[in-house]
């Protein structure tokens, strides 16, 4: 019996250790692309504001050589986020599945390329492809790969994952660093996984006049990273095609910067890479946890899908953050049941051990799937749950449950009396 009471403080201690905040150094903004030495015909750049309040409109204007294509690259200069991708798709050439895992922590928290208005058609086409659109292909089609520079040289770790390694929960063996070209192409895939939609990564809103002067109205959406943003203009003056090879002549402008400011209760989530008005998750969590108690279950399975659909939060962060919030409620629940000796430790620990192993593997899988797969799988889980809930409201179940509840009350009463008598 004493052992039981020794287990609880140990669990509590483990919890405290778990909640100790992770210290993670924030890298200073070194990822900004070095400004190209201004060439004689480099485009000029002007922005009409130097600071924004949680997003807003900014007008970029300037003059480039006449007849050139103008691309405007906007990115968060000092906030970086994590992006990862698991490559489990069969390679069409070799017929093998690569099982490679790519991860970077250097992805700019915001990244967008503005392209000339007349390329809108391509973007509309890409949007029609839904979630299957390919960032690198679209970039190439509209020639915007000439402007793609900020994420092109980020450090990407790549791992060879194996089934065994996944079970142990490691990312696999770290492979040698990729060359510049492979890094660039992988960075596009990571960027697509991170920013998801065509509209987030590309916008056709640069107006170019015949004399080369241009203006681009750019809207920084709300809930983006605070801090410094860099804007660079790339003017493609000439494209020379020789067979398959294309030489692109381009000139870059100097870097213009603006600041995005946010104020409490909107705060920047370092790991998620977005700002969020903290009142919303608070109210949502409050409402759902009350509802969860009325229902006799936790609320995580309602809270998580709502969080991923309503907010620009990555599914990994949502899953990883909601889980610890229920830990405390579970611990108090266990303590209360234990007081009246309403827990069979042999049964609980027995099945608990199996669940321990499952809990070890699950979070690894979260990391390996994309948001769309997450939503798809979760959708089915919810349908099953809905069926379970429905079954619990059928007359047969209710009648049976009534009996059980009566027995349970009787047992509880006895248990409480026994506990009182002892105490």
């Amino acid at each position: 019996m004493n052992i039981r009471f020794r287990v609880l403080p140990a669990l509590a201690l483990a919890m405290i250790l778990l909640f100790a905040p992770q210290v993670r150094g924030e890298q200073p903004g070194t990822g900004a692309a070095p400004a190209a030495t201004p060439a004689a015909n480099a485009p000029t750049i002007n922005i009409d504001k130097t600071s924004l309040n949680n997003g807003g409109d900014i007008l970029v204007t300037g003059k480039a050589p006449a007849g050139s294509q103008i691309y405007v690259e906007v990115f968060s200069a000092d906030k970086k986020v994590r992006a990862n991708r698991f490559d489990g798709k069969k390679d069409e050439k070799t017929g093998k599945i690569p099982y490679k895992f790519y991860i970077t922590t250097d992805m700019p928290a915001f990244y967008k390329i503005l392209v000339p208005k007349d390329m809108d058609g391509e973007l509309v086409k890409a949007k029609a492809d839904g979630s299957k659109w390919k960032y690198s292909e679209v970039l190439k089609k509209i020639g915007a790969d000439a402007a793609y520079s900020a994420p092109a040289k980020i450090k990407i770790d790549n791992y060879q994952a194996t089934i065994m390694a996944s079970i142990i929960g490691s990312r696999g063996t770290l492979l040698p660093e990729m060359d510049e070209k492979a890094t660039k192409s992988e960075s596009m895939k990571l960027a697509k996984g991170r920013f998801r939609s065509v509209g987030n990564l590309l916008g056709a809103n640069v107006e170019v006049q015949a004399d080369g002067s241009y203006s681009a109205k750019f809207k920084l959406p709300a809930s983006q990273a605070p801090g410094k943003y860099n804007v660079t203009v790339t003017a493609v003056t000439d494209r020379i095609k020789e067979g398959d090879k294309e030489t692109v002549k381009k000139v870059k402008s100097e870097v213009a910067s603006f600041e995005n400011k946010i104020a409490f209760p909107t705060m920047y989530l370092n790991n998620a890479g977005t700002s969020i008005n903290l009142l919303w998750p608070f109210l949502l969590c409050l409402a759902i946890s009350i509802f969860g108690i009325l229902m006799g279950a936790g609320g995580g399975f309602i809270l998580n899908p709502i969080l991923v659909t309503l907010f620009p939060l990555p599914h990994t962060i949502v899953a990883g953050t909601v889980m610890p919030t229920v830990l405390f409620a579970q611990a108090t629940g266990i303590m209360n049941y234990n007081k009246v000796k309403f827990i069979n430790w042999k049964l609980g620990v027995g099945i608990g051990c199996a669940m321990l192993v499952g809990g070890f593997i699950g979070p690894k899988l979260t990391e390996m799937i994309t948001l769309d797969q997450f939503k798809f799988l979760f959708g089915w889980v919810l349908l099953v749950l809905a069926a379970l809930m429905f079954w619990q409201t059928t007359p047969g179940y209710l009648a049976n449950n009534k009996k059980e509840q009566a027995i349970m009350k009787e047992f509880k009463k006895r248990a409480e009396e026994a506990a009182k008598a002892k105490g």
Binding site: L303, G350, L365, L382, L388
Partner: protein, 129 residues
């Protein structure tokens, strides 16, 4: 395995219990919820245990999963402290308010609402609408 509870003995098929628990744990830790709504039916239906032994013991089993899942999510850097601090107090306050309201509403009605809500949410995630 034989389990004794309040003077009654139950025969539990641990193979079924552990396999089911393992699968539920993978799923729930992957999506970041507790797993109670799956564990209770598993233990009552598949293991044929009465409700009064299931409520406490399933909570204990789930706690193992949540603790491990939390640790692993943190290891992978999936934990955001600020978001956590915004939701944690809400969960605790909810934990106090919930039981107060619970006496006044019928759990069957709540479950029916939940069922409809889950159905809508699930179909939304699947992109049906």
């Amino acid at each position: 395995m034989k389990v004794e509870f309040w003077g009654q003995e139950f025969e539990v098929n641990m193979w079924v219990g552990c396999t089911g628990g393992f699968l539920i744990a993978i799923m729930s830790s992957m999506f970041g919820f507790g797993g109670g709504p799956f564990m209770v039916p598993l233990m009552t239906v598949a293991l044929r245990l009465p409700m009064y032994i299931v409520v406490g013991s399933s909570l204990l089993a789930i706690f193992f999963n949540t603790a491990m899942g939390t640790m692993r999510h943190m290891q992978f850097g999936n934990f955001d402290l600020i978001l956590f601090l915004a939701m944690f107090p809400a969960a605790i306050i909810g934990g106090y308010i919930g039981p107060m309201i619970a006496k006044k509403v019928s759990p069957t009605v709540v479950k029916r609402i939940a069922c409809a809500g889950l159905l809508l949410l699930g179909l939304n995630l699947l992109g049906v609408y």
